[in-house]
Point group: C2
Chain length 353, copies 2
């Protein structure tokens, strides 16, 4: 299933793990959010074979194949498990449907009855057994030089989908619940925190080298709520994971945190902070004083490709040389991305380091 | 048409202008983005009478009435002209239609032919005569203690609508044009820069006390493009306006600029920077060392109202006491906002100062 990259980068030292542990690499390790996905024709062909998106995620052979597709094409330093942040609500008893051109659709959870009717947070790992099975297969198959990344959505971001019943709109309903029924919302967040911690721990035990916490909608929260709903639960999840696995490596991504990436880096205890494409190199350098920093090419620049993309890669690689930098995008690879641009990105990062 | 606020704040000194000129006020001046709009029943009734949204903007009596509706209800320190950032493409010969529940729709401008076929930038003021007429009426009617704000969209933000043909989606098309046809895109930006500068100057000459430049989509640009498409044109527009009116007061709003508000404040020459709701009080205080700072209550907190809103207002007013602060939201008032919450906001700001 897995073939070695042709550029001969196979090694027993994992560059991603070195940077997470505190050592800058001469060439920054490279991986891309959504590196497995719809921009790859082989992914689209595989996806056709599954009856639903969640079936796809829950069939270990398919998840493994999707995870390895970009690794077979490109000289990447890490494979990220093919899965979804919404397996958590599904495991808590709230089925998720992925609707073409709409995105995920859920029955909204908006009151005490809905929240208290969810399954226990520590029980999600039973439901998610196929996810861990996929990781165990990957762990055995994957070249030892390539890191294996597990992940989960962060509680706030999962809560937005569960309360709104869909993704990424005005956040009116979830904010209203948070402000007007803080007890109910707090119980939802507690349940999610427990579920996420268990899910991350189980992924590490199944062979993930490190885990990433995606807080995709962190940026929509004003300051006091960012502290309460992003920083505090992340800190507690990091503590729980480290209580189980003291050497666990954790990447946090509070997307669009703006001027709050630094406080997130300082207060959550994560090993690395991923930053979106709006963040400057100066801020990334400053963050890299205390954590590893991951990012942040604009995914649309990867669609455009050519000299504009390569010029920005040169600036990023030069600007962050000597720092704990993990090369990535500021958000996920979009479906319109030509796969050859990903190859050009990898070559440009390696060629300019 | 205009009645004095009942709290007796009528005065000959304009608190907003004092803060813009460099003096903190004991009570921060208050106004709200989209303070005239669909959340007010009297606005919805007025809107019914216009055949189209642009006709509404171009009928001075209607624009004046809409502008004054919130001033008649609430003890606000400023009236912002009722208009739209898309009067500029309309004046350049690209008609804009406002479609219910969709937003503005334009014929996209995506190539040299489209860009070079636009009308000259210095000619927009002829088309926009009714806007200036509305300002002249407002200038005469408005209580002398209340500031009158004119505004325009910034070139980058207007360009996103013109190239995409609609607002606020993935920005793929406009970014592709910017990166792949920089000459064509540069000519569009130059045209917009000239049009915006003329429009702002004409608004000041018609009686606006100050003007605001809305760069609503500034945040989607990565670092080098933010410098080129947001900071540089804003700097040139500020210089042009000041060349015509050396004492002009200008508020800039590079929405979701994240860690780049400070460089925007330092390099554009604006008198005030408006910040979105993601920005911390610490950053606002730091910005207020060099400019006035405007913001940044979450518009959804105004929808929620009650103690959560009032608690945040107390934090903001106390946190920014002694600084050059203009109280506002982080974005516009949304249609779901209960008008009585706006009254409560104003009372809470004044009561806690």
């Amino acid at each position: 299933m897995y073939t070695k990259p042709e550029n001969g980068r196979v090694t027993n030292i994992k560059p991603l793990m070195a940077v997470l542990a505190g050592s800058p690499e001469a060439t920054p390790p490279i991986w891309l959010m959504r590196q497995a996905g719809r921009y790859l024709p082989e992914y689209r062909a595989l996806r056709q074979k599954a009856s639903s998106f969640l079936d796809f995620c829950y069939t270990p052979e398919m998840a493994v194949t999707a995870t390895l597709q970009p690794i077979e094409r490109f000289a990447l330093d890490a494979a990220i498990l093919f899965s979804d942040i919404l397996v958590i609500p599904d495991a808590l008893g709230m089925p998720v449907t992925f609707v073409e051109k709409v995105g995920p659709v859920l029955e909204p959870v908006t009151d005490a009855r809905g929240v208290d009717g969810l399954k226990p947070g520590d029980g999600v790992t039973d439901h998610l057994t196929p996810v861990y099975q996929a990781l165990r297969i990957l762990r055995a198959d994957l070249d030892p030089g390539i890191s294996l990344i597990g992940f989960a959505g962060a509680p706030w971001t999962i809560a937005t989908y569960m309360v709104e019943g869909r993704g990424g709109h005005g956040f009116e309903t979830v904010k209203r619940l948070m402000w007007q029924a803080p007890d109910v919302f707090g119980r939802l967040m507690d349940r999610l925190e427990e579920a996420v911690a268990h899910h991350l721990i189980a992924q590490i035990e199944a062979g993930a080298d490190c885990v990433k916490l995606f807080d995709s909608w962190a940026g929509v929260l004003p300051e006091p709520d960012f502290a309460r709903q992003v920083i505090a639960p992340t800190r507690r999840i990091v503590d729980r994971v480290r209580a189980a696995h003291p050497d666990a490596r954790i990447i946090g991504f509070p997307r669009q945190a703006g001027d709050r990436y630094a406080v997130y880096a300082a207060e959550t205890g994560v090993d690395a902070v991923a930053v979106d494409q709006s963040v400057t190199l100066a801020t990334m350098k400053s963050l890299a004083e205390t954590v590893a920093v991951q990012g942040n090419l604009d995914p649309q620049l990867l669609v455009a490709g050519g000299e504009p993309m390569e010029a920005r890669i040169r600036e990023m690689v030069a600007g962050l040389a000597g720092h704990r930098h993990i090369f990535n995008l500021g958000h996920g690879v979009v479906p319109e991305t030509p796969p050859e641009h990903v190859a050009a990105l990898v070559a440009a990062v390696r060629g300019n380091a």
